[in-house]
């Protein structure tokens, strides 16, 4: 087996017995999961269930207590992963005193992607009309989308998105999901968190979290079948009660 095949045999993300403590409180008491390549995996659970902490650990910006996190076969946070993994934080993390284009130009130069890609991602997140507007003056939803545009810039192999479609109107939300599918079809592993259940049905795979534990995982259809329910919301309740 050559190294290229060897690399492809690794899942996008592999987490084993991960323990994370923040501010003296155990947030993740030891969870394990896999995120496949070429799939959109939804990380669902109520606010405070540890989704963001798990995502931070996968991106390698979280101090972890024990356990292992591998991304594309390498330890999370390795410098070789930085160009290959993109992360959207829940709170928009771009420069409020620059325009949308100026922000993207800066991050595009860091990632060394061609300038044409800037126009593409601006169109993708529906900010064509606001490209020359100061980020500070955007609405909350537009601000988040500008931050999302940065995450989409570099054609990442692993895309970690923390609540990317909050405050997004339904039409644009469908567009964004289409672009997540397109990125996954290109072979990337896409991990999307949400605390709203109506996003769940859009995912290929689901990971349901509650109080730092994974209570179930599988495709939406599998979870419905396993719980004999019609709606994912009911499936979640049934799985949470059983856990």
């Amino acid at each position: 087996m050559n190294s290229a095949q060897d690399e492809l045999s690794h899942p996008a993300v592999e987490v084993k017995d991960l323990v994370v403590r923040r501010g003296g409180r155990v947030i993740l008491p030891g969870i394990s999961l896999c995120v496949a390549r070429a799939r959109v995996t939804g990380l669902l659970g109520p606010s405070g269930s540890g989704k963001t902490t798990l995502m931070r650990s996968i991106v390698g910006v979280q101090v972890v207590e024990s356990g292992s996190v591998h991304v594309l076969g390498e330890p999370a946070g390795s410098s070789s992963l930085r160009p290959r993994v993109a992360y959207l934080t829940q709170a928009p993390s771009i420069y409020a005193d620059l325009t949308v284009s100026e922000n993207l130009r800066y991050f595009a130069r860091i990632l060394d992607v061609p300038r044409a890609r800037i126009e593409e991602v601006i169109a993708l997140v529906g900010l064509g009309g606001q490209a020359r507007q100061l980020t500070r003056t955007l609405s909350g939803g537009e601000h988040s989308r500008a931050s999302l545009a940065v995450a989409l810039l570099g054609r990442p192999e692993v895309l970690v998105l923390d609540e990317p479609t909050v405050d997004v109107d339904p039409v644009l939300r469908r567009e964004l999901w289409r672009s997540f599918y397109a990125i996954a079809e290109g072979g990337a592993g896409v991990l999307v968190s949400s605390h709203v259940m109506d996003e769940a049905s859009r995912c290929h795979e689901l990971v349901l979290m509650r109080a730092g534990e994974i209570i179930a995982s599988g495709s939406p259809d599998e979870l419905l079948a396993r719980t004999h329910t019609e709606e994912l919301e009911d499936a979640f309740i049934s799985l949470a009660e059983a856990a």
């Binding site: 923040r22 910006v61 946070g77 992360y87 709170a91 620059l98 100026e102 860091i110 060394d112």
Partner: protein, 244 residues
């Protein structure tokens, strides 16, 4: 470290400053205004003003850049942009040197404006070359930036960050010999002053003013540059890829 990323960072920081006209106006106008104020305060003590005039021009960027860097880095931390940058293919040095280049440019402009007003209009004299004062002003801006970067790591809020200026810089300026020659201070304070970088920044400026361009001047400059590098290295250790 990559020149592309470093220069992109410089361009980004300058872009942010360009949009903040009021800060630029304050940076460029407050220093000459204060030097002018000193000139009139010392109206009847012109020999004292001759001693401190040129060093004042060279020391202002220290304070300005300390404050600007503290707030800029604190913003990077609190708005999540630092976390984003740390997850991208950007070396810590790209960020630090990128900031340093942008602020050095700002300091050069500030030093040139203050120097022009001071030397041409206020009659401040230096026996050494005036351009050397501006060069030292840039070195002091970098010292202020490096110290600001390091101390901003200990601030959680902007209120705390600005308090580090009187806590960290003001005692150094008071002890440097600018207000009162160090020889006139108690021995214990002289020893403390000898351990502080601003002392050497002031000494270098005082020597240019007196055209005392011997080995000791170069030693002062080497110590200031060494302090910049040390503070930048310590500052780099406060930029963590992983946080709790």
């Amino acid at each position: 470290m990559s020149a592309r990323v470093t220069l992109a960072t410089t361009a980004r920081v300058l872009g942010q400053l360009r949009r903040d006209r009021r800060t630029l106006a304050l940076v460029f106008l407050v220093a000459p205004a204060l030097v002018t104020l000193f000139k009139f305060i010392f109206q009847y003590q012109s020999s004292a003003f001759e001693r401190i005039g040129a060093p004042l021009i060279g020391l202002f960027p220290l304070v300005m850049m300390f404050l600007i860097t503290s707030i800029a880095m604190l913003r990077e931390r609190t708005t999540g942009t630092l976390e984003r940058l740390m997850s991208l293919p950007l070396a810590k040095l790209d960020l630090l040197v990128g900031y340093a280049l942008a602020f050095a440019l700002l300091a050069a402009v500030q030093g040139a404006i203050t120097g022009t007003i001071g030397f041409a209009l206020l009659g401040i004299t230096t026996l050494g070359p005036a351009w050397a004062v501006v060069l030292l002003a840039i070195a002091n801006a970098l010292l202020g930036m490096a110290l600001g970067l390091f101390f901003s790591a200990f601030a959680r809020t902007e209120f705390q960050a600005v308090q580090f200026m009187p806590a960290v810089l003001l005692p150094q300026i008071l002890l440097s010999g600018l207000l009162l020659p160090r020889g006139a201070m108690p021995r214990a304070l002289q020893i403390v002053a000898d351990a502080l970088p601003v002392t050497y920044a002031y000494d270098a400026l005082a020597k240019i003013t007196a055209n005392d361009t011997g080995t000791w001047l170069w030693l002062d400059i080497v110590i200031v540059v060494g302090a910049v590098v040390l503070a930048l290295v310590l500052g780099a250790t406060t930029l963590r890829r992983r946080t709790a």
